[in-house]
Subunit: 244 residues, 2 copies
Amino acid sequence: MALTYQTKMTVPFDMSDINGFIKIPQLLLLSLQVSGLQSAELGNSDKSMLEQYNLAWIVTDYDIKIERLPLFDEEITIETEALSHNRLFCYRSIRIFDAQGQLIVDMLASFVMFDRKERKVHPVLEEIVAVYQSEKSKKIMRGPRYQALQNPQIQDYLVRFYDLDMNGHVNNSKYLDWILEAMGSEFLEDHIPERIQLKYVKEVQAGGLIESKLEVQGLQSSHEISSNGQINAQALVSWKQIKR
Amino acid sequence: MALTYQTKMTVPFDMSDINGFIKIPQLLLLSLQVSGLQSAELGNSDKSMLEQYNLAWIVTDYDIKIERLPLFDEEITIETEALSHNRLFCYRSIRIFDAQGQLIVDMLASFVMFDRKERKVHPVLEEIVAVYQSEKSKKIMRGPRYQALQNPQIQDYLVRFYDLDMNGHVNNSKYLDWILEAMGSEFLEDHIPERIQLKYVKEVQAGGLIESKLEVQGLQSSHEISSNGQINAQALVSWKQIKR
């Protein structure tokens, strides 16, 4: 068992959607923040990792299972744990519990270490993952096979100035925003995801347009974010209707 | 002097723009949050105001003077005070200080009380403003005269599902986002506002498109947000170039 890190919070008004659920891109932002808090507490902040090793964490995949979404004003506990790692990947669990201790959201995030000078993925450095007491394991957790979309609907989005962070990168949560928004307001008013599988392929460049492509079959949707003819991210989402 | 309320915070990574400045729509969001915290502390939360009086606060105008913008990881103090009120308007100051106690952002917000049952503005209720020790004054703080735009550039934005809050309203800070984004990334990379004057005219409806119109003359820009042929908001912004 690796070290776990927990933080409690109450879902604020400005994170809540029209149905009172937490906005799903916010869930991803929170998961990154809580992972960052654990790293900082263990003396391995993003800043020190960059200064000491010239390395940055990059998320490559998410697998998000949603039993139910946290509600406005609900007190939740977010727990994270660096589950295991192999030669290239580090796997991190982010779990959200309600006040009764019920697991309501269960996320798995895959990270790689990125060498900022060489501009390429760096093999996992044991001395970094040691601080999390992450277990070394040959197990590779593969995401699904994402099929190319045949005849997608397309929604364009502008990459906005305020979408960029200090490093000129679009936050991971923004990709999910583009993916979900493309379903349209009417659908989103009546449905929430049960499971989201998301793969980051290539970073979106600042400025210009991205295409959010999708194919919907019943309560399953397949997604591609692409720009300049290249795929930037792929996703599969299973939906369920909101009970009223 | 009315009661003041203060809160300290450190500007987090995900609120910081590509230049390391706090994202300006976030400033507006913070100002509303801090006003809300004071109200809750004084026993006049939005919820209790609605339950007791059927009234909600609505911001009608902002006047924001920016000496300099808070930076990533900077500790700031946000202070708010219900300055004064007259028959219809309540004026609130929101000030941001740096760690040396220097005033760096000075905002004035004008509020009215809105009767949710009657769907119209309600005269200021003395028993509500009394809790803030707000001073009664005949002084009316008028915003500038916003001229109709003659030959504007137009940028369309979709009102997105995640732009809406639990009441189906677009947050005040989103209007500022549409206004500033319309200046374009290139301009925003090199300029920050010195002063923003903003008037809310009519609420944007959920769904559909808004037009962010603008005319730029040197370092002054004039803005309109409109939808369905109606003006929703107007703004004047004075800019300065970022010193490198």
